[in-house]
């Protein structure tokens, strides 16, 4: 049986660790360094900004740049993508006494909701499972939220630095001391071009990793400091489009079933979402777990197939696609959480630390909440005049996470995702049992299996994908274009993959990748083929990392330029 796991790239967590190498006077010193300007990183920055505003004496001690946020995208929001329906609790807490939800860019509260089970031709409305009740929640674009939060952070004096990826975690004598930023101006073979600019060592007393799904530094840190949880982490891939529509949609919709197949052996878990964004925009997305085994499973094309269903057609008909994007979603849940969220000089926040509730489809408010708690933990250390890199100094962060509402919520659904390993119907039954009993039954920890370990099968699935017409059904390259991706071509490849693999693995990667980065190359004999990689198509969704390779950040500013996703 061929498994992607069997073809690892020549790259591992140790490649992500480094010690500072810049001469001390060239290093950039900041008080607290945050990696990632997503909701988690920016919430952390904002909370720190608020706390430091009240304590100028502590702020002074942090130096010229008290807090800096590194963001690999062109600007905050460029690499953010989600549904999204957000629970407002964490935002309200973050901005308590300063802003209300009315000041935050959203598309209003969920007007109504419906859940459907789909077959090819029909849809059956089913009662919304308790985990999927969104009354009181807000619809928003996480990309727009990112831009807003960045402005808030900047108004508090935080340095938000876009086009600046963190490519190495700086660790010295068992302590995290900062991160190194990426080089710019290298050619395809790594050579220095005329405008080569080396990255810098950014050193800080506390480093907060908020680098999201497939966060390179987070996963390396978890490995390095022995923080991994009981179950291996697993992911799903979500692909979405934003459409300008003729008629307003007045409710949020979730579906399950078609076009995914119920049989457990295929490992197809997921569903779709259709969310209104104001009167004239609709977000439609499809999510499928990456433990899927079919070589030809392509979430990009599943979304296109999904759009052919009458239910969706009636909403999008006559409209126009205005955006497209893709991103993996951390799915392991409670048992895949790191066993500790801090290490000397280090705090782990948000999705990179596994804080996503898949059954509730919620992660943004966990990111914000954990970001806020991380800021408070770091601040307490400073207040006490302690050295943040002392072992245990940041343990109060873990304690506050465990006391928070998100912990209980994650615990309740701790086995729900894994139940679907048994297929849609058994999984559904198990999930219902778990919901009703608030997670107490069935008991015990259900294991997860790494996505790349799933042996591949072939079922001719691709025949069902609809043919692109450039107006309603799109091909991958058109979608990449619609993501705003204009990545510079002549830079080194940022994707670490083995390029001599068994044919089914290459084919699986070709179908899996929503941006058409991987293609089956030359026949090398004995069932092996080469893999042709086009890194400039990459929208940095992270699917390759889940399926046997490793995504690393390309040159700063590369990748998609999401604005409304």
């Amino acid at each position: 049986m061929t498994r992607p796991l069997d073809f690892p790239p020549a790259f591992g967590p140790t490649d992500v660790m480094a010690v500072p190498t810049d001469p001390p006077d060239q290093r950039i010193e900041v008080g607290i360094l945050i990696v990632g300007a997503g909701p988690g990183g920016l919430a952390c920055a904002i909370r720190l900004g608020q706390l430091l505003e009240e304590r100028p004496d502590i702020k002074e001690r942090l130096g010229e740049v008290p807090v800096a946020v590194l963001e690999k995208g062109k600007q905050p929001g460029s690499h953010l993508l989600s549904g999204a329906v957000v629970q407002p609790r964490a935002l309200r807490e973050l901005f308590r006494g300063r802003l209300t939800m009315a000041d935050i860019p959203t598309y209003g509260q969920v007007p109504g909701e419906a859940v459907y089970a789909l077959t090819r031709r029909t849809s059956y409305r089913i009662p919304a499972p308790p985990t999927m009740r969104n009354h009181g929640n807000f619809i928003l674009s996480v990309s727009e939220l990112g831009r807003f939060l960045a402005q808030q952070a900047e108004s508090l004096g935080i340095a938000v630095l876009p086009e600046t990826p963190a490519t190495r975690l700086l660790v010295q004598e068992g302590r995290v001391v900062g991160a190194r930023t990426g080089d710019r101006g290298r050619g395809r073979n790594g050579e220095r071009l005329a405008n080569f600019e080396a990255g810098s060592d950014v050193v800080a007393g506390v480093t907060v990793l908020a680098d999201g799904t497939q966060g390179l530094l987070s996963s390396a840190a978890i490995e390095r400091f022995g923080l991994a949880g009981e179950n291996p982490q697993i992911w799903a891939l979500g692909v979405k489009e934003v459409w300008r529509v003729r008629r307003p949609l007045r409710r949020i919709i979730h579906t399950m079933g078609w076009p995914l197949r119920a049989f457990a052996g295929y490992g197809e878990f997921g569903g779709s979402f259709v969310y209104p964004m104001g009167d004239d925009l609709v977000s439609v997305g499809f999510v499928a777990g990456l433990e899927s085994r079919d070589v030809e499973l392509s979430v990009h094309d599943l979304l296109q197939e999904f759009k052919t269903h009458r239910l969706v057609w009636s909403i999008l008909r006559g409209g126009e696609r205005v955006a497209w994007g893709a991103k993996t979603i951390t799915e392991g849940g409670f048992y895949s959480l790191p066993r500790r969220f801090n290490a000397p000089g280090l705090l782990l926040v948000g999705e990179g630390a596994g804080l996503v509730n898949v059954p509730r489809l919620k992660g943004i408010h966990y990111a914000i909440e954990s970001g806020r708690l991380a800021a408070e933990a770091a601040f307490r250390v400073l207040e006490r005049g302690e050295v943040p890199s002392r072992i245990g100094a940041l343990d109060s962060y873990d304690a506050s996470l465990r006391r928070s509402g998100l912990w209980q919520e994650l615990y309740e659904v701790r086995n729900m995702r894994q139940a679907f390993d048994k297929g849609f119907f058994v999984g559904g039954a198990l999930a219902s049992a778990m919901t009703v009993t608030k997670g107490h039954a069935p008991n015990g920890r259900r294991p997860t299996h790494p996505n790349a370990a799933a042996p591949l099968v072939r079922t001719g699935r691709a025949r069902r994908y609809p043919k692109p017409d450039g107006k309603y059904i799109f091909d991958k390259l058109s979608s990449v274009f619609a993501s705003g991706n204009r990545t510079r071509d002549d830079q080194p490849s940022h994707l670490r993959v083995e390029t001599r693999v068994r044919r089914p693995v290459a084919e699986a990667w070709e179908w899996m990748c929503p941006a058409h980065v991987y293609e089956v190359g030359r026949d090398l004999g004995e069932g092996m083929v080469s893999v042709h990689v086009t890194p400039s198509n990459c929208v940095q969704c992270g699917a390759i990392t889940a399926k046997g390779g490793q995504l690393t950040p390309p040159e700063g500013g590369s990748g998609p330029e999401y604005t409304v996703t």
């Binding site: 450039g470 390259l477 058109s478 274009f481 990545t487 071509d489 086009t534 400039s536």
Partner: protein, 320 residues
């Protein structure tokens, strides 16, 4: 409507760009030309055949160098003397600067990158592609004169017979117009036009199969007097230099003729060449997206079609 058309000349011949604009002007109203520089009197008469009734000339020393600012003085003076309704230019490095300088001097409206001019009733309307040639905008002017800069090569010279009176005119120069001086001029024996300036581009994509097959494109380009372009995929593979890459992350081109050999036509490439006048595509895949937006699509083996095409073009041109 009364037009004044800026005409350039090089090595004793009037340039096509200006003549094309002149032909258009003559079809819309009364057209006069202006030629400046050495040999102006000699070449000016030739404009009559393209519709000019009068051609104003000056061979003043100041026009010996191809510099814009003295020409702004000249046209401003001429506008003052002859009161045309519109002053037209065919875009070139020099003409663009003159047109803009003149607009500032006369506080007049300038519309540029026009691909056509029409009269709607009594009003002059320019047609201008925008947003990567995906939208066509109608533009107009308020006040006079109306200054128009037409995209290079957009209008073809049309001979209408006829002759022109050639008239000298006096120019006074502003204090700053002659401060810039020409130190040196080099004519380049180029190996062919650069991809940005080329009238014809023959581009190759993955369908070529190998870097060696680019010679097919080179030979066709040479026969057609054009430049060679490449897609991102083949540049990535090292088959051809990045400077020839056409597309979203390469160059945007709009030649009169674009021949796409073995190119599928993904949108990343399309946006770099969709403004081309005529697109001919040769590809063995009948479903290639390029067949949706080319003018002439040939489903076939480019390794057969392209050499044959080169041969036929060479035969027509009488060289072998």
């Amino acid at each position: 409507m009364k037009f004044l058309v800026f005409l350039e000349h090089y090595h004793g011949e009037l340039e096509k760009g200006g003549l094309g604009v002149l032909s258009k002007a003559a079809s819309l109203g009364e057209a006069a030309g202006v030629v400046l520089g050495p040999e102006a009197r000699e070449v000016a008469g030739g404009a009559g055949a393209y519709g000019a009734s009068t051609v104003y000339v000056s061979e003043d020393e100041a026009f010996a160098s191809p510099l814009p600012q003295p020409r702004v003085d000249a046209l401003a003076a001429l506008v003052g003397q002859t009161s045309p309704d519109a002053v037209l230019f065919g875009a070139s490095v020099l003409a663009s600067d003159v047109a803009a300088g003149l607009a500032a001097r006369l506080e007049a409206g300038l519309n540029w990158d026009l691909t056509d001019l029409v009269l709607e009733g009594d009003e002059l309307v320019g047609k201008r592609p925008a947003l990567g040639d995906t939208v066509l905008v109608d533009v107009g002017w308020t006040g006079a004169p109306r200054i128009a800069l037409v995209r290079a090569g957009a209008l073809d010279p049309v001979e209408s017979g006829g002759s022109a009176t050639v008239e000298d005119f006096e120019v006074g120069f502003s204090d700053f117009s002659t401060l810039a001086t020409l130190v040196e001029q080099t004519q380049e024996e180029s190996s062919g036009p650069s991809i940005e300036d080329a009238d014809v581009i023959v581009a190759g994509g993955r369908g070529l199969g190998s870097p060696e097959a680019f010679s097919l494109c080179e030979q066709l380009a040479s026969a057609l007097g054009g430049a060679v372009g490449a897609t991102r995929a083949v540049v990535d593979a090292g088959w051809y230099p990045y400077s020839t890459q056409v597309g979203q992350t390469g160059k945007t081109v709009s030649p009169r003729l674009y021949v796409a050999c073995g190119i599928s036509g993904a949108i990343q490439h399309k946006v770099g060449m969709q403004g081309s006048g005529t697109i001919v595509a040769i590809n063995k895949d009948p479903n290639a997206p390029i067949f949706d937006f080319c003018d002439l699509g040939v489903v076939g083996d480019l390794h057969q079609v392209v050499p044959k095409l080169t041969e036929l073009v060479r035969a027509r041109r009488g060289d072998h």
